[in-house]
């Protein structure tokens, strides 16, 4: 389990889990689950386009995920965010369908682009993934304060001169970068599970941002490691284990939060106020 090609799988999964845990914390905080689903899924069309033109898959993925992020960000200024995300996603998928109809794409390749092929990562793939991952973490570190402020209290962020529109675009670009690096290994659909389940679970355990982020990374790591081990032993697709474990971790977090509420009374005031309960996100 720890020899040869498996070493690459463990290393890649670790990088992916760290990035997903950190970026995903803000995805959950900002209520950006739909863009986090749409960008990787739509970027898949870029891979099909790259296959059609005969260029590197990573370039296709990067172009489409960035275009998707920009489309969601700019159109979302005028229209409703969720509507714009849905339409950007279907447009990208429709282009993907058109590309695929023009090539004779091989079915297993589509499957692996959607669901990942982490067990087939080559040593040369690890370096670019690590580099892009470092860029994502660095971008989050630089954006940390304005991103945090505009995610939690957008109105106060605006009065402090933080343009939420710019923050939104910057954040979506980070999601797009994370997507580009992870789609070839984890698949377009699984990175989404990792970006939602572990951070949401972490937020049930603590409301302190840095601690929650660390916990989110830890849960994501446990999830992918357990998924690789299980996938290796049972020979079922890793995606099944990642999806199930991510949902399970969220369920555990919710259960814990409920248990603590009923056993220790009302929760003490937290350092950061939660998003007010309105439908105007």
């Amino acid at each position: 389990m720890f020899t040869g090609f498996m070493i690459n799988a463990w290393a890649t999964a670790t990088i992916v889990a760290i990035v997903a845990g950190v970026v995903g914390y803000f995805v959950v905080l900002r209520g950006a689950a739909f863009p986090a689903h749409a960008i990787p899924k739509g970027a898949f069309a870029g891979a099909a386009g790259a296959a059609l033109l005969g260029i590197n898959t990573l370039i296709g993925l990067a172009v489409f995920s960035l275009l998707g992020a920009l489309a969601i960000g700019t159109l979302g200024r005028r229209g409703r965010q969720d509507v714009v995300t849905a339409l950007a996603l279907v447009l990208m998928l429709a282009l993907g369908a058109a590309f695929l109809s023009l090539t004779t794409q091989y079915e297993p390749e589509i499957y692996s682009l959607l669901f990942g092929q982490i067990l087939g990562v080559s040593t040369t793939q690890i370096l670019p993934i690590a580099a892009l991952g470092a860029v994502c973490i660095a971008a989050i570190a630089i954006l940390y304060r304005p991103l945090m402020l505009s995610s939690i209290v957008p109105e106060i962020a605006e009065t402090n001169g933080i343009r939420s529109y710019r923050i939104q675009i910057a954040f979506l670009i980070v999601v797009a970068l994370a997507t580009t690096m992870t789609v070839p290994v984890t698949g377009a659909l699984l990175i989404f599970s990792l970006m939602i389940g572990p951070p949401a679970a972490a937020r049930s355990f603590t409301s302190r941002p840095l601690l929650a982020m660390a916990l989110s990374v830890a849960i994501a790591l446990v999830t992918v490691w357990a998924a690789i081990a299980a996938s290796y032993l049972v020979n079922w697709p890793i995606g099944f284990f990642v999806g199930t474990l991510a949902a399970l971790s969220y369920g555990t977090g919710r259960g814990w939060a409920t248990w603590r509420r009923t056993h220790t009374g009302p929760r003490p005031a937290t350092a950061l106020p939660r998003q007010p309960a309105t439908d105007h996100a």
Binding site: A32, F34, L87, E107, T244, Y250, R254
Partner: protein, 303 residues
Amino acid sequence: MHQLYTAVFEPGFFASAQVHVAAAIGGIVAVVSAVVGVFTVMRGQSFAGHALGDVSAAGGSGALLIGLTPLAGFVGAGIAGAGMMDMIGVQRLRGRDLATGIVLGAAIGGSALFLYLGTTTGTATGATQQILFGSIFTTTPGTVTAVAALGALALASIATIARPLLLATLSTDIAAARGAPVRLVGLGFMLALAVSVALSSLAIGALLSTALLIGPAAAALRLTKTLPGALATACLTGVAATWLGILLAYDSYYWGPGHHSLPVSFFIVAIIFATYLASGLRAARRQAAVPVAAAADRDRIAA
């Protein structure tokens, strides 16, 4: 004149049985999706509307494995998914977003397993592509009846709860104060959405299902100010886009020298996206003319 006619409708378009079935199913699904979609967009549940397509597709591939009909799998998983989203999600937009994401993530994991098991036992050729995009040209005439019946069921449920649903959509607080069962109405809507999305993703694929649910409704809500107006505009836009898309896909076979037709979903989505962008231009112009009234109006519709 005849030349123009044959340039628009390539030979055999009206005689093709495939085209008849596609036009019938596409038309029914477009109308049901448009009506459900208007409420979906107003309630800000586009993500759930899209996710339920993937969830029901997971059910479809699971049903194939254990020997059930795909229809049972699609509708069953859609309803179960909608129920779970409603159970997990609190009434806030962000909680709903997260609940949708969790259910979607788990369903995708299930899809990965079912497709893998299906492919290794050698029954699900082209299943991944079918689930990603679907195809309107491969549906059989037999599906038309099931699609029409389930579509009527979804529309009837929406009509039954229309008044409290609209009230709860525009203002949860006022609806609750008036004694409307907000929570129950929300669940009822989710179930109607699940049935509608399940049947559309079975009949025309997850991709077109989302496009027809969100696009026409979103464009209509930017163009008209009343609910009946929005419903009518959305239905017309959806049906027109579907039929025009089918025509263009049919014609595209004759365009290039290679005789290679482009997928119908590509044309329908392109038309819908263009319509949405155009509706934005009109809404922006109207807003520039009467900024205060238009803004108040937009808030009222989008609340």
